[in-house]
Amino acid sequence: MAAAPGVSMGEALNRALHDAIEQDPDVLVYGEDVGPLGGVFRITDGLIGEFGPERVFDSPLAEAGIVGTAIGMAMYGLRPVVEMQFDAFAYPAFEQVVSHLAKMRNRTRGAVALPVVLRVPYGGGIGGVEHHSDSSEAYYTHTPGLRVVTPGTPADAYSMLREAVECDDPVVFLEPKRRYWSRQEVDLPVRTEPMATPVVRRPGTDATLVTYGPMVETALEAAETAAAEGRSLEVVDVRQLAPLDDGVVTASVRRTGRAVVVHEASVFGGYGAELAARIGERCFHYLEAPVLRVGGLDVPYPPPKLEHHHLPDANRVLAAVDRLQWESEWTDDGEGRVRP
């Protein structure tokens, strides 16, 4: 079987872990099933074989214990990279994450840094049964002290994971699990832009799609379609969700005058609310239309056969773009909403 061309996001992550372990003796990888199995998504495939069970190993099955021990290890100079098997299975560790991981540096006036990477495969689109598809980023981004990052491409997956491991802050590394199999032509190792900076994935002039993680591909697809229809959409990939460097986003929206924020998570109280509120504030005088949000429904993540109704696709994004009050087509209905 000929290998598919390019590198998949999963392979890029695997290689990033490999190179990180190889280059720094203080890096170690543990969690549930990351050893001989290579993780349920095979992101740690082959690592225990190459580096041995001192560097890569399976721990008892307890997420709070995993994060708590990682905190202790980091206090003594290791750089643990721990895996939460799925988004919803990180919740048992929530107290350790919020009350310790995020705050230790601050509590100790900088004396204790916690260079821990918490890898969390997140989001849906893989036909998983309940509790396997949560987009939990908003829980982390509202927690000062955490860096929350999520790659949208294989190259970024490699580069950002390397940077996360090297970073002296705790990093919640959200992996868009449905994109593990997305491929890109890229030579590894690669270093892309620093993870703290959003990047323009596709330039455009008429409106900005602000997105991240699993929706980067979706937004690019929407932009492609829109271009064919004569509308030029800029796509900004936020990458590091918190702390946010909003300069690139602001500059883009000031240029285009319109913005749609896109993510997979339920819209209500989601991370997109922060983006939309911030754009509304920083770009007020530049906006030709309200900032719209496209995301999942405000319901518990649906069962596999219904998840496609929940997940935003290019059509849902384009429908929002259509509602951006393009003068010729739209009029205000007097209710603050504008209808064709």
Binding site: P36, L37, P60, L61, Y91, V129, L297, D298, L306, A319
Partner: protein, 351 residues
């Protein structure tokens, strides 16, 4: 603790006696149905007609033995691994697969079957069992519960908290730990350093029982005893049923990465069905040889029929209305969800 060895021979025990012959036969019959159900569901998963299936082949004795010990008013708190337990408990077999087919999260009305939804977040169902039995007792009802979990799940903080609440409140819960030796790819010795999982009971002031989980008679006897004690105010208990997961964790698993096929073979020799069938034959529990053949064949036919029905009923696609996504989020649909429902209806019309 063992009452029937792997050759189907009875083993004497000082405190427990095997169930009566009718019950032994009933256990065998339920295991047969369970085994066929596991096979059928496994096939459906391989064919892509189920999104996923976590088979419990090899664990039927633990599940059936535990469930048949329940009384009519008792509740079951199962995990994703426990479809066979649900079927033995009386839940419509097709509805135990709703979750895995991806139609909905829970396929049955928990109240109707006195059966909580199959639980995926590990060990989180255990405290529910404690609360439910507490509530029932407060309402003057004689309700006990069987809370199921795996060996791996005992490492979770939720297991600990549930054991402790049950012991302190003295609620009638039996925690049935199916020690199938693996938590996906992680073997028991990386999960605990305790002599047995049953030893965990000591730290809660509970009784702990260590049982051959492939001996349905033993599991039944011990769980019955533990339930009776708990019901009588003697406190909750942990029953560790030592068994083995013969199939992969789910159809998506790759066990060749982490375990020796010889280990599987070792356990196949200890198959719970082999020993119960031998016992029935050797002791003539179903009559003479001819009667036995006939009866066992009838059980096999019944099991096949159930499996066939499952396959057929699953073939007919369930009507899934996307508007139902919004119906049961809250007791009444709030305004924002009404709006979303309207938007989704628009989207669907456009397609």
């Amino acid at each position: 603790m063992r009452l029937v060895d792997r050759h189907g021979r009875r083993v004497g025990h000082s405190s427990f006696t095997a169930p009566d012959p009718a019950r032994l036969v009933e256990l065998h019959r339920a295991m047969l149905i369970g085994r066929r159900f596991n096979q059928q569901a496994g096939t459906l998963a391989r064919q892509g007609r189920l999104a996923v299936y976590p088979s419990s082949t090899g664990q039927e004795a633990a599940q059936v033995g535990g469930v048949l010990a329940l009384s009519d008013q008792d509740w079951l708190f199962p995990t994703y691994r426990d479809s066979v337990a649900l079927v033995a408990h009386g839940v419509d077999p097709v509805r135990t697969l709703t979750l895995f087919r991806g139609d909905w999260h829970c396929g049955y009305d928990p109240h109707r079957y006195r059966c909580a939804p199959q639980c995926t977040p590990l060990a989180t169902n255990a405290s529910h069992a404690v609360g439910l039995t507490y509530a029932a007792r407060r309402k003057g009802r004689d309700v006990a519960a069987l809370a199921m979990m795996g060996d791996g799940a005992t490492s979770e903080g939720d297991a600990h908290e549930a054991y402790n609440f049950a012991a302190v409140w003295n609620t009638p819960v039996v925690f049935l730990v199916q020690n199938n030796h693996w938590a996906i790819s992680v073997p028991l010795h990386r999960q605990t350093a305790a002599p047995t999982l049953a030893h965990k009971a000591v730290g809660y002031g509970m009784k702990g029982y260590h049982v051959d989980g492939n001996d349905a008679a033993a599991v039944y006897a011990v769980v019955s005893h533990a339930l009776a004690e708990a019901r009588a105010g003697g406190g909750p208990a942990i029953v560790e049923a030592v068994t083995y997961r013969v199939d992969p964790h789910t159809n998506a698993d790759a066990p060749q990465r982490y375990r020796d096929p010889a280990e599987v073979e070792h356990w196949k020799e200890r198959d719970p069905l082999i020993r119960s069938e031998r016992l029935i034959r050797d002791e003539g529990l179903l009559g003479d040889a001819e009667e036995t053949e006939r009866a066992l064949a009838a059980f096999g036919a019944e099991a096949d029929a159930i499996a066939d029905t499952v396959r057929e009923r699953l073939a007919g696609a369930e009507e899934l209305d996307p508007r139902s996504l919004f119906t049961d989020v809250y007791a009444t649909v709030p305004p924002l969800l009404e709006q979303e429902r309207a938007v989704l209806a628009d989207e669907l019309r456009e397609v």
